[in-house]
């Protein structure tokens, strides 16, 4: 490799030719001088010898002459590189340790940077992403809008070029084979045009294609779906497929890398939202309510319009809508955010977490540099004879330093390249990672040029950084003193730069260990916290019945058959259904309720905004929700019976002031139906683990039909067996029903995902940091021991106890360790406030966390000083004296 490099360099520099001429000229000079001397009567050999001596330090002049001739920069670089690689090959273990440390830390940095780049820094993969904004409520960040509200906002605003919107739906897709469950974006007709996306194949649908409900029988495939399910079939355009049993024509394929405007999520296809009724039996098209059918709406701002102005414009429309539709539309102030992470909802915590992680991994890199700086300084000390010799032979100090820097940068580049390669493998794997069988996770983590450049810059910067540590040492070297007496010795008593570096490094390690402990403890606690239901031992089967052709009157009988069929599985204790399983899919639909006396049923008069779940009679038993007062539903609470409901404690309080008064109390549903509370259940977590207590309303599926059906099965059997039995029963009921079976704890993976990722990321960084401080403390202790070995031997000979010896050698490393750990612990406690936004129940005020950190740091100290301590204790005075 170096050979090729050299031939490349030769093109830049006159190099060898110059060298040759210089040699020849100096030779001529000496010969001419010898001729003169010979003429004075000396013999030829004597004359030549004299001439050479007179000429003096040949090398130095050559060096200087070369420098004044100029154009030798590259030549020197090549020479330095050659020498550096020779030196590094000579001390393999040193090189190995340095390269490994750097590969680890630079790799970690590259991965974290790639995540930061993918989610925060890089704009969304659409044209003119900088002017693309989504519209959120100022309070709570929610972005959903009803379709009529969307139309008004779109048509009456003066700030946006256009406003488009979408909803996320599950759909059964048949392309000549079995129906498979897919994810679709139901999008407004202007979706692609508003984003400015061009089709990869075929064409897109446009606003002009919409002619009222169910008027556009077209879908557009995502590139990934076209690749995976249609095997890159070029003739796919024009093909008829079935979506939820309805025939649709494939109109086109979206370009590669376009996955809608929401990171994390990759849809299979795009379908016009006006077909929502036909596909999902949705009747929301005309409803104007707050929890509307559009998941999010967004658009490009017109040039010159600021987000604030646009929000004010939209607010004015919303106020007007409230005047026009007082019972349906309530004005809530709006704000503009970025669509890629659902505005600040995910964007805020993600930014805080990733920035924190980036900071931590940079700190780790700094710690590694501190470590390597010490290593290089020690190596420079070991090589002081060589360096002194080179200085004595006339090498300039600058030249020697340049050589040392070349070595450092070569090591860091090797480490950086290795780390980058490792991170690319890891990132590729992460990008295709699908931890949730039901949710198409899309992490745009594929490493790009930015990541590679960042990694290499980091590598060079760290090389220069740790290469600079021995500079002072070299500059102070007195070549004659070193060659005469060997390396200068003298143990520094004052706090040296090395000590400060070590303390900083230990503090970083302790900080990371604290953070990862806090995250892991939070995760563990959130797995065992009261959810208000009991997920363990519960299996879920989910099916969208309308997707399989069940409508209206046929829905309930099918649900009952499903419950009964599951009940026949031996070992099953209870079976229930719900239209929405808590903590498994994100949003639980909401509604609003009124007091009995309220007659003006507008939203502003609502007494509570509960989440609504539609359940079968045995759901509470099957899901392990504790019934506190009253009764659950029975199959007799049907259409002909009076409307009944079960509420949780929070809703009972909001509706009637107390739980006791709520039982038997009557309230009005959104449509005004008077409903009696027949039971009260415990509060729980519904949408995510970090939410505060929310009111919840349970309605019987017999009185409020629901298409989405989650069958909850409680049993003692191993999950695999239950799942198999459930699948069999469902196939017997209806072989064409696309159902998905999983454990409830598995389904909760999505809720626990952020905590898990945080715990793993911090854990890995913590482990790297622990490893670094281990080697750092080890280096210091070993160095201290080897410096004082002779003294220790004499002390042992004079009868010093083991304790005294250990105290003499290890008190300093341990003091530094204690200092660093304390600083890190304090920092870690402070940093955990950021963590609590990501990890549920993350708190550093936890004796177990604090104790754990102290134990880990002690272990690091013990492990790191074990070998040096052994060496100190076994110092043999006789052997040492003999060595002199």
């Amino acid at each position: 490799m170096l050979g090729r490099l050299r031939s490349l360099m030769a093109r830049f520099a006159p190099g060898d030719r110059l060298e040759h001429e210089l040699d020849e000229e100096l030779r001529a000079h000496v010969a001419l001088r010898a001729d003169d001397l010979e003429r004075t009567g000396l013999t030829r050999p004597e004359a030549e010898r004299r001439a050479r001596i007179e000429f003096g330090g040949h090398l130095k002049f050559k060096e200087e002459a070369r420098a004044s001739a100029g154009g030798v920069f590259w030549e020197t670089v090549v020479q330095d590189l050659r020498f550096a690689s020779r030196m590094l090959r000579k001390s393999r273990s040193f090189t190995g340790v340095a390269v490994f440390t750097l590969a680890l830390t630079i790799g970690a940095n590259a991965v974290v940077f790639a995540a930061l780049n993918a989610f925060i820094l890089r704009p969304l993969n659409v044209p003119r992403a900088e002017s693309l904004y989504s519209i959120h409520r100022a309070k709570g960040n929610s972005a959903n809008q009803s379709y009529p509200d969307y139309l008004d906002l779109r048509d009456r605003n003066r700030s946006f070029e256009d406003i488009a919107g979408y909803d996320i739906m599950e759909a059964g897709l048949e392309a000549g084979d079995e129906p498979s469950r897919t994810w679709a974006l139901a999008v407004t007709g202007n979706y692609f045009d508003a984003l400015g996306i061009q089709p990869f194949r075929g064409r897109f649908f446009h606003a002009s294609d919409e002619h009222g409900p169910d008027s556009v029988p077209y879908i557009v495939l995502s590139h990934a779906c076209w690749h995976a399910r249609f095997h890159d079939d070029p003739g796919v355009v024009g093909r008829v497929v079935r979506v939820n049993k309805q025939p649709f024509t494939v109109l086109g394929v979206a370009p590669q890398g376009f996955n809608g405007t929401l990171l994390f999520f990759g849809p299979d296809f795009f379908v016009p939202i006006v077909d929502k009724h036909q596909l999902w039996g949705s009747k929301e098209m005309e409803q104007r309510n707050q929890r509307g059918m559009l998941f999010m709406i967004f658009g490009h701002l017109k040039p010159g319009v600021t987000p604030k102005q646009a929000a004010a414009d939209l607010d004015a429309i919303s106020v007007a809508l409230e005047k026009a539709y007082p019972s349906e539309h309530q004005h809530l102030p709006l704000k503009l955010e970025r669509p890629s992470l659902y505005g600040e909802f995910l964007g805020g915590p993600m930014r805080a977490f990733l920035t924190g992680l980036m900071l931590l991994s940079t700190l780790i890199l700094l710690a590694a540099c501190a470590n390597l700086g010490s290593l290089f300084a020690a190596r420079a000390a070991d090589r002081s004879r060589e360096l002194a010799l080179r200085l004595a032979l006339g090498a300039g100090r600058g030249r020697v330093l340049r050589q040392l820097f070349t070595e450092a940068v070569l090591v860091s580049l090797l480490g950086g390249a290795l780390g980058l390669a490792g991170s690319i493998v890891l990132l590729r794997w992460l990008a295709s990672w699908q931890p949730f069988p039901r949710f198409p996770l899309n992490l745009p983590l594929n490493p790009d040029a930015t990541v590679a450049v960042a990694a290499l810059l980091l590598a060079v910067a760290s090389g220069l950084l740790f290469g600079a540590v021995p500079v002072r040492q070299v500059l102070r070297t007195d070549p004659y003193a070193v060659i005469k007496s060997g390396p200068t010795s003298g143990v520094g008593r004052r706090l040296s730069v090395r000590d400060v570096l070590l303390v900083a490094q230990i503090a970083i390690c302790a900080l990371l260990v604290t953070s990862s402990f806090v995250a892991v403890r939070g995760l563990v606690r959130s797995l065992h916290s009261p959810y208000g239901f009991e997920p363990s031992g519960r299996m879920l089967a989910s099916a969208e019945l309308e997707m399989a052709g069940y409508r209206g009157e046929t829905l309930l009988p099918m649900q009952r058959r499903m419950v009964d069929a599951m009940g026949t599985i031996p070992g099953v204790r209870a079976v229930g259904t719900t239209d929405c399983v808590p903590l498994s899919q994100g949003d639980v639909p909401g509604t609003y309720v009124f007091q009995q006396e309220t007659t003006d049923l507008k939203r502003a008069n609502a007494v509570a905004l509960p989440l609504q779940m539609v359940i079968s009679p045995d759901y509470f038993r099957a899901a392990g929700v504790r019934l506190l007062l009253g009764r659950a539903f029975s199959w007799h609470d049907d259409k002909d019976a009076p409307q009944v409901a079960v509420v949780n404690q929070e809703l009972a309080r909001q509706l009637f002031g107390s739980e006791a008064r709520a039982l038997g109390g009557i309230f009005k549903q959104r449509d005004g139906t008077p409903t009696q509370v027949v039971g009260i259940v415990e509060d729980g977590k519904y949408e995510n683990l970090t939410e505060s207590t929310q009111p919840a309303l349970y309605l019987p599926v017999m009185q409020t039909p629901a298409s989405m059906t989650w069958v909850v099965v409680d049993s003692d059997l191993p999950p695999v067996d239950v799942a198999a039995a459930m699948r069999l029963r469902l196939r017997e009921l209806d072989p064409g029903l696309p159902a998905f079976i999983q454990s409830w704890t598995g389904a909760m993976g999505l809720s626990l995902f952020p905590s898990r990722v945080a715990a793993v990321a911090l854990g890995v960084l913590g482990a790297i940091a622990a490893l670094l401080s281990l080697t750092g403390v080890f280096g210091l202790a070993a160095y201290a021991v080897s410096r004082r070995l002779k003294e220790l031997g004499i002390r042992i000979a004079l009868g010093a106890t083991k304790r005294e010896i250990l105290q003499a050698t290890l008190s300093r490393p341990f003091r530094l360790l204690a200092l660093g750990s304390a600083a890190g612990l304090v920092l870690g406690v402070l940093a955990s406030t950021v963590l609590s936004a990501v990890v549920y129940q993350a708190t550093p005020r936890d004796p177990l966390v604090l104790a754990g950190v102290v134990v880990v740091m002690l272990l690091v100290g013990l492990l790191a000083t074990w070998i040096p301590a052994q060496r100190a204790l076994s110092a043999d005075p006789l052997a040492l004296l003999r060595e002199e």
Binding site: E21, L22, E24, E25, L26, A28, H29, A31, L32, R33, D35, E54, F55, G56, G57, H58, K60, F61, E64, A65, R66, A67, S68, A69, G70
Partner: protein, 113 residues
């Protein structure tokens, strides 16, 4: 060495230019010429010469070519370029002004100022 004057910083270039202006010379010859015309008062360190020669070549004041010495050795010969010649004139004038100024300062007697 008695009678040997220290070379002032920057004067080596001037001496080389002057020596070469008297005729095409190789490196060793330049040394001899400087010694000879200064009456052995100025001795240039042998090795210091070459960095200076390279510098002057790079600045375009000298040009070098290979040739044969009087005793038949292959050596590199240096001669002045046009720029070298005008530089020599300018530097000589500058040096003379400086030398006169310094000489008159040193010759000053008390009460003269």
């Amino acid at each position: 060495m008695p009678g040997e004057a220290q070379l002032l910083q920057g004067t080596l270039d001037l001496l080389i230019l002057k020596a070469v202006s008297l005729g095409r010379l190789h490196g060793y010859g330049i040394l001899l010429r400087i010694g000879q015309i200064s009456g052995q008062a100025l001795l240039v360190e042998q090795g210091a010469l070459y960095p200076a020669l390279f510098r002057l070549v790079r600045q375009g004041l000298l040009k070098a070519s290979w040739g044969t010495s009087e005793n038949n050795r292959r050596a590199k010969f240096y001669e002045l370029t046009a720029t070298g010649r005008s530089r020599l004139r300018a530097e000589t004038a500058g040096w003379n002004r400086l030398a006169t100024a310094i000489a008159s300062v040193l010759a000053a007697q008390p009460g003269e100022a």
